[in-house]
Assembly symmetry: D2
Homo-oligomer: 459 residues x 4
Amino acid sequence: MKHWHEECAVFGVYGDPEAGRMAYLGLYAQQHRGQESTGIVTCKNGKHIHHKGLGLVGEVFPEEELVRLKGEMGIGHCRYSTTGGNALTNTQPLTAQLFNGPVAIAHNGNVVNSDRIRDELKKSGAIFQGTNDTESFLHLIARSPKQDIIECIKEEAIRMDGAYSVVLLTQDKLVAFRDPKGFRPLSIGHRPLDDGGHSVVIASETCAFDLIGAKFVRDIEPGEIFWVDETGEHSVRFATEQKSAFCIFEHVYFSRPDSKVFGIGVYESRKEMGRYLARENPISADMVIPVPDSGVPAAIGYSEESGIPFEFGIIRNHYIGRTFIQPSQSIRSFGVKIKLNPQSELIRGKDVVIVDDSIVRGTTSRKIIALIRAAGARKVHMRIAAPPTKASCYYGVDTPETDQLIANQKSVDEICQFVGADSLAYLSMEGLMSSVQAGERGFCAACFGTPYPTELYLD
Amino acid sequence: MKHWHEECAVFGVYGDPEAGRMAYLGLYAQQHRGQESTGIVTCKNGKHIHHKGLGLVGEVFPEEELVRLKGEMGIGHCRYSTTGGNALTNTQPLTAQLFNGPVAIAHNGNVVNSDRIRDELKKSGAIFQGTNDTESFLHLIARSPKQDIIECIKEEAIRMDGAYSVVLLTQDKLVAFRDPKGFRPLSIGHRPLDDGGHSVVIASETCAFDLIGAKFVRDIEPGEIFWVDETGEHSVRFATEQKSAFCIFEHVYFSRPDSKVFGIGVYESRKEMGRYLARENPISADMVIPVPDSGVPAAIGYSEESGIPFEFGIIRNHYIGRTFIQPSQSIRSFGVKIKLNPQSELIRGKDVVIVDDSIVRGTTSRKIIALIRAAGARKVHMRIAAPPTKASCYYGVDTPETDQLIANQKSVDEICQFVGADSLAYLSMEGLMSSVQAGERGFCAACFGTPYPTELYLD
Amino acid sequence: MKHWHEECAVFGVYGDPEAGRMAYLGLYAQQHRGQESTGIVTCKNGKHIHHKGLGLVGEVFPEEELVRLKGEMGIGHCRYSTTGGNALTNTQPLTAQLFNGPVAIAHNGNVVNSDRIRDELKKSGAIFQGTNDTESFLHLIARSPKQDIIECIKEEAIRMDGAYSVVLLTQDKLVAFRDPKGFRPLSIGHRPLDDGGHSVVIASETCAFDLIGAKFVRDIEPGEIFWVDETGEHSVRFATEQKSAFCIFEHVYFSRPDSKVFGIGVYESRKEMGRYLARENPISADMVIPVPDSGVPAAIGYSEESGIPFEFGIIRNHYIGRTFIQPSQSIRSFGVKIKLNPQSELIRGKDVVIVDDSIVRGTTSRKIIALIRAAGARKVHMRIAAPPTKASCYYGVDTPETDQLIANQKSVDEICQFVGADSLAYLSMEGLMSSVQAGERGFCAACFGTPYPTELYLD
Amino acid sequence: MKHWHEECAVFGVYGDPEAGRMAYLGLYAQQHRGQESTGIVTCKNGKHIHHKGLGLVGEVFPEEELVRLKGEMGIGHCRYSTTGGNALTNTQPLTAQLFNGPVAIAHNGNVVNSDRIRDELKKSGAIFQGTNDTESFLHLIARSPKQDIIECIKEEAIRMDGAYSVVLLTQDKLVAFRDPKGFRPLSIGHRPLDDGGHSVVIASETCAFDLIGAKFVRDIEPGEIFWVDETGEHSVRFATEQKSAFCIFEHVYFSRPDSKVFGIGVYESRKEMGRYLARENPISADMVIPVPDSGVPAAIGYSEESGIPFEFGIIRNHYIGRTFIQPSQSIRSFGVKIKLNPQSELIRGKDVVIVDDSIVRGTTSRKIIALIRAAGARKVHMRIAAPPTKASCYYGVDTPETDQLIANQKSVDEICQFVGADSLAYLSMEGLMSSVQAGERGFCAACFGTPYPTELYLD
């Protein structure tokens, strides 16, 4: 069940006869990472062409805009936008005229010392249009004494603390870089061209490569600047190697199951979470039912491990638009029912295991369980394919305040009672880390209660 | 995989303080039956209020229109519209001023002797606005010598041959009736009201009842006229009982899995088709993969019966809009890939069984199999949870011409070769009929090659 | 000042390689006759193609719709639509499938026995979609025993009483006819083509001919049916000659000043009204100011005759859209001021004559005079270039109820006091009739208190 | 005839309970100064709220946006936007977060040393979003060492050379200032409030005051900074007094005739131009006809002085939208005819004087004269109520390149021949200056060939 909002997806392309359309498709495939606004900037003859708007990729870019987005390189962005009327100001990519030409930039993540950097910049006369981190970075580059853009980034990026996977377009280069801890994914691919060569593509998630027929080459390393220009592909580090802090929530919920994130397939890691969950928390039941769509792989894993049959017992209505109109009279559990409908013919009189990826406030889980009971289930066992969610994220995930997280207020037993389940169990931290084959690699699991990997600058 | 277009969904409501909103929700839940146009007519103080438009229910009805649709009774319709600029003319419900007041009408199905009736009516001076069957029926009523609308219907409905599940609204009545063979579903429900009473609702599919919290009461019988007015619920037959011709394709593809159609749950019947398919056509493989979303229940059944693990090996992108823009340069299998992405991490080096509901022209299946092979599968076995599709439907399903149906041109072996599978098998007619618990009840399976249950009037 | 709403403009074209675009332009030029909805139907290879919508001609017809409107003949319509959500149903041209093929029809005017005809038709089983007169006429044709459309019209048109200037399109003919009294204008023109020939065009007003470079040929006669087909132009009478009832208000307010209506230029007739007004009601003043735009020609005539200088003392804002948002706090005379602004630099300390075409309720005139006084005028003399408006129109003009017409409630002196003028005078009926060179020709001046030229069927 | 595009209108308001709506109305009244984009920023509790968009004021601001624009002070802007897809970036007011809070700014005019200022700013690390002058000024303020905004402006404004009438909004002040030569108008008004007090309003043109019921107080002086805050109205000079350079074209064409610009009514000055023109260039003719709407006052003046009757001989169609679709087949003079239609009934066989405000390229005048001849005129004498247009404007008027101005290429006789007139005459420079009562006051008439009042920085 969706209750987390990833902030963004980025995309970049270089040397492609259809750069604008590839950006369009690359964003399309990553639409799940942000549905409120989107933008593309391409570069043709040293000039930037851009189009941005509020809405889905398919709505914001009609054919005539794609025709206008000429050129062989470009970057794009999808955003889960902030509320309010000024949303368009924050829509990325941001574009600017610097002394050495136009620059466009888009990022995924959250810079934790952003306010400090902004304040310093404002004091020295910088003007800010919007409120996002990307704008600060533009100012850092603009003010850098270095003439060369790569040198600028090398010098200035290190001043930012936190999560940032960035794509940047100049008059002649596509640049991409990733924070030293590598919170958010960022991958490189090659798209074969008709002439036997290939274009270079960058994406937050590899599912974007699949759609445009590109091959995954490798991840951009934490602390690496990667760029492409007419002399080829280049790489340099701007930060020394350190313990990584890959976002575990990309595997738990964010990423598409058909993406390969931090070196491992997401569908596989989720199934593995389900298997661990079944081993750690066995129960006797007639069927395992996922909360669609995010709970599906873990439910399959749970079913496989437990031997309890998998059933698609809750049907999701995929025609839900963004402006659904409520009836004024109350219909019980209406808010959930408009999206999910349990199959009473299947469930009636049965003991069911419901598998979901997380419980945030608990109110949605409570409604789902009520629906399943109303559909006639005898017993409802809830299984969560991750540990209890205990802390807010400061690295680019839109989580509620810590005090609204039910796992921060109540014990597992109390949560079980609140959501109305016959039993409730979460996956252990060990099970989670094993599922993503963490091994020596560092993951950020701060949302599940482990220490934050950076200072938070919360004053 | 979607390749059939059901023509319509209907909905009716009587005695509900929020009739307009209930119609909205009832259509919303049935959106899968038609996405091109929709309309609602309510009745307030004997006056009809209507709103129609091209697009999804959520788009056509903004809040201000729902506010305008006052009254305690109403009917609504979703349509898979014909092409061309005149689509709005055919959008239902149709409304008309007759001598005894306003009448609105909406239907699901196709009347096979419609052209004959139209020609007769035109010869006697009737004017037609559009091209749909509903309009003929309006004329039949308008010209009936009977004053009472129920009497009119009783007399005139029998002149129509074919499939029609109809809802009709007058100044003081909600009427519903179903053709004598009952091709299309039509059910009655009761929605509990705050005052302890209930409103009466009519829908093509019972999933509409679930959303609005109504209880399924019974199906309207083939040949039955059912109506509600201030004196209560009434019923009368306009045709003598005969062998039914329930549309088997409602179970194979059309209906939502969480609906109960012709007395049996659709999810259950589809799982049963998968089980029969596994028994009739066993194969050794590493995993069973559904073509989402329609192949899912049958794949689960196949997996259960065969013991081969079920995997969600093809991910569907649910953000596909209706106006997707193609790249001008060719990307292999692009048309399918924009919607479906196989998971290569899962599939690579494996033998897979792909389960789908049908093969129409074979081109889509061919692309899907190519994608799965490109994702690294070793062997691809295709299993279709229905018999070969051999004939066009004349009762309300938008099928290709008979000569474009691959099963009409090629043997199963040839189809297997065409789609590029390692093996291909279809469900038997016996398996299909057992799956829907046909027993003595008649089903129309003309699309699978059994005789058409009515004359076709094709001259 | 605009306070009357003419119902419609019609247009027809035959034998033109760009029939759709000519209809578009012809309606564009006549946009002043109706701004709420518009539609065009063309005919290509015996098939009708249509497009209609709510809004201005320039909004309803984007390029892609004009491209779709192929064919060498067509008709079009602009409408001042009725209120309510069902406006699109009444948008013309109406189209229908009759036994002998498609027919499209559009009209200007109002049929006074329309309700009687409708009732008869409904009793015999006719279905009505909307509420306009055109639909009744379609039914009359559809039910006529005559096979030939011209014969049908000849027989049936005479059953309609009142005002109707009609254009009609079949598979092979453009037909136009005008009621026996000729209330509304309807003219024939020839548009020269590149091949040396010409197309035939029909319009409510001749200004449409000017825009498309057509020459005015003649008016269609009252009681005449005119048609064009592949054998050429034809004419026949369906009614015997009788005293005409040309609408005097076409000259007073409706028609564009650059049109020639009922054989005389509208600008000229209005100037003449101003001259008569000056002769009949002389006054001493510093300047003559028109209420723009309709009062301009009469004010020029008044100035010429009286020798008092003409000044454009009230400036009209032409950017007024249809949805102007009011301030919530009161601004004095705001409703008028948003449209009209008197020039205080010019007016201050002066005696002015304000010339307008009519006073309906008196409230707008009162506001205008208040504005002029606030701008510093010493004396304000109001002169109306027509007699007092005393009765509602039943022939196609949207006038207020008779009891809301101030001239029906108050004497000229009382009106003068109500509107706050220093003096007020109206044109005499004789002056009016002389201005339009009525001579022996009959004009309908029922709105000014002369008898209605037909029965009204008001029961 | 419109062939010049003024760049902008500005508006400001302080202390008004309906500041957002007053800005809306103030822009509405000034819509003639820019129709491509518009924006409003208000301030509520120290926070800025803004809304901008492409289109007319009435289109960009629906009711829900006006409701959102809360607060008692605000500024607004209308713009004749540059071409291209990035137009929204340049839409004003520009908003920014500076160290001491939010600032919004809007301007009318053109800064001639803008590129130099931009280059300097970019070199020192400033980032530019768009291409307009206002943005440079924001940077100058942001980088000023002064903390107080008025001090900043006092220090930095003087660095800009050229034309700028600016309104600026902070958290607690409305500020307005005007360049030292006062090229563009900028006036102060007071709007009476219900509580007996008044709000302060600023506008480019006084017609904005008329609409909202405000009284004109005085012009802001060239080189003056005027501001309002909770302590009242204040004024300070940032430049010493110098010879003014009031834009003469505001009187010739730009401003609305009902505005008072540079101390004199525009309608009056235009009439006076017509009178001078008649005295300087008498001719014998039957009527004087203005090219609507801009030629109207001068034609009235010409008629008065010459005694030749004034006639509204060319009718303008006011329903012209911005996207008019051309017929593919040629219609003679179509482009002009869609807007203007000469009245042949009036003109036929007559000698006419056509009065317009200017001839730019000569092509439009040629078409108008051709239309008038086609309408039957015997002789056509053209009179231009200004001297020949010889040079481009660099102070905010969108004129063609100098080499496209016909008066720069041809003698008056040659122009007369080119446009096809029987005679052609222009107003003298002396006549022009007398008409605006220039006296000792300096006017910029560079477009008519006098020296530019500032350096142009054209390298």
